[in-house]
């Protein structure tokens, strides 16, 4: 019974962590689009809160592992939470880093248009994050698969941005500073999408009990094995 109480606590904290990250990503993107440096600074300040939440959640997980010797699903759940926890923390860092770019961009003239559909790309990334967390909550393997499919879309967009930025610099070398900043935005969003995809993959492993796909985590091209 003690373990189930501890797991409930962990579940709540993980959801809270997820909520904080989703909000940070949303605010950081909005700060770029509306050139709102104050909002961006708020995201940067809030990153400490996410870092604290990560440490606390990790401690709770280790606590549960050390004291209650969970087995089977509970054990897999705790392992998944530990991994997802650090993915979320990285997403929080990336949001803070987007916000730093937002502060910089807000101080530059608004005349140079962003050479790609930032709003559309970030919307897809936000959807992926939202779906990956929903997949975790509902242990929904189908939803997790949708996240992976969307990751391909984001990768394509990112490749397109690379070309657009290259063209931008060729047309006007003076725009190089902004062009590089824009490429950075796309790169950070693409990394966020990767972390959301890792979360989705962990949900599949957790649900189907197949640990083999935990291992080649860095190998993005090979999808998790389905039993």
């Amino acid at each position: 019974m003690l373990l189930s109480r501890q797991l409930e606590k962990i579940r709540k904290e993980l959801l809270h962590m997820g909520a904080l990250c989703e909000e940070s990503v949303d605010c950081s993107v909005r700060a770029i689009l509306t050139r709102d440096a104050d909002l961006a600074r708020k995201v940067i300040d809030n990153d400490d809160q996410i870092d604290d939440a990560e440490i606390e959640l990790e401690e709770e997980c280790l606590h549960a592992l050390a004291l209650y010797q969970p087995v089977a699903f509970d054990l897999r759940y705790l392992v998944a939470v530990l991994k997802i926890n650090s993915d979320l923390e990285r997403i929080g860092d990336l949001a803070a880093s987007l916000s730093e770019a937002a502060v910089m961009l807000a101080s530059r003239p608004a005349s140079v248009e962003i050479p790609f559909d930032l709003a559309g790309m970030s919307r897809t990334v936000q959807e992926m994050l939202h779906k990956s967390l929903n997949a975790l909550v509902n242990l929904d393997v189908k939803l997790a698969a949708e996240v992976r499919a969307q990751d391909d879309i984001v990768d394509d967009i990112h490749r397109g941005v690379y070309e657009a930025v290259q063209k931008m610099i060729q047309n006007d070398p003076r725009s190089a500073e902004l062009a590089i900043a824009y490429l950075g935005l796309s790169r950070k969003l693409e990394r966020m999408a990767d972390h959301a995809t890792y979360i989705a993959r962990d949900v599949v492993c957790l649900t189907e009990g197949d640990f083999s796909s935990y291992h080649p985590r860095s190998d993005k091209e090979s999808p998790a094995k389905q039993p």
């Binding site: 959801l15 809270h16 909520a19 709003a119 919307r123 939202h130 779906k131 949708e146």
Partner: protein
Amino acid sequence: MKIPPHELAKALADATAHAAGLSRENAELQSVLGAMREAVVAVGPDERITRVNAAAAPLLGMTADSARGRLLGESLRHPVITRVARAGLSGKVDEGEMEIFVPAKNASPGGSSALARRLFQVRGTPMPGRTGAVLVLHDVTQLRRLEVVRQDFVANASHEIKTPVAAIQGVVETLADAPEMNETDRARFMDILTRQTSRLSKIIEDLLTLSRIERGLAVDLAGFSPEPLAPIGSAAVEACAPRANAAKVLIEADFDAGLALPCDPSMIERALVNLLENAIKYGGSGGRVAFRIARENNQAVLEVRDFGAGISSEHLPRIFERFYRTDKARSREQGGTGLGLSIVKHIAESHGGRVSVESSPGAGATFRIHLPLAPPPAALPA
């Protein structure tokens, strides 16, 4: 110890009556909650959902019954609602705003999970004796959007009118200060005066047109006999011909000669002229404009397509708003009033139709007016 049978019977009757009263109250409560437009979610001290009303179910993406017992954060994940709920559970009233993903209304059950982004005002109230908290969610997405439209309208309208007035003021002051001005300078200033006053009068004229259409919304179509659309299209092309020639743009017209519907021909012509002028002005770099009038299902579609620079996606939802500009500097330079598309939209709507736009950067833009055709008598059910 023995209880006399008649007392037992009385106690039983009391309890039954009490239970009936409770279930009646419960049913009443359910229907009160069910009638609310706002979503209501009640949570217990463990942050698990104890009750939701009908309006809340679609936000959670599940039926009210299956939502019961879930953690609040599993269904509605946002720091604000967590904060508000925890405040409610600790006996305090709290409120806030949050923008979250909810399942899209038109999501198909088996298909991929479409999401919509909505803005909510959340208010949390404690239940007596700290037995839980009640959260009320009010969807303010549409409200907030309209607020932005209104604020932008006032700001833009004042700006559009102030610019020519400031120019006129400047010229008049210069002329007053320099009575000995030479002919060429005077002519130049007079030219500025003429241009700015005509721009001002164009803006005012457009505003009046708009308000006239808005006021008389829904033209009394019964008063008009069916008008063939092709001649209206030709008249619009003729009216735009000088401008098209000057910009070296070819208008390719393709009209379905058989189409006719009850309408105010002068208004439809005006809408078409606005679309053609825009296509020439902003899409003229493509060298041609495709103008088509055709039947699609039960509609007449009047379509103007250019092959110019196109419009990026963030502008498309707002492009029919009054004074909305995609590129502030450029379109003012082109002499637009910022009202043309808004007039087109209102004319279409006053005829029971609608407008639509499709575009992407580099691929030109397509504007369409969709007007309902009266269903042919044969198509009516017998």
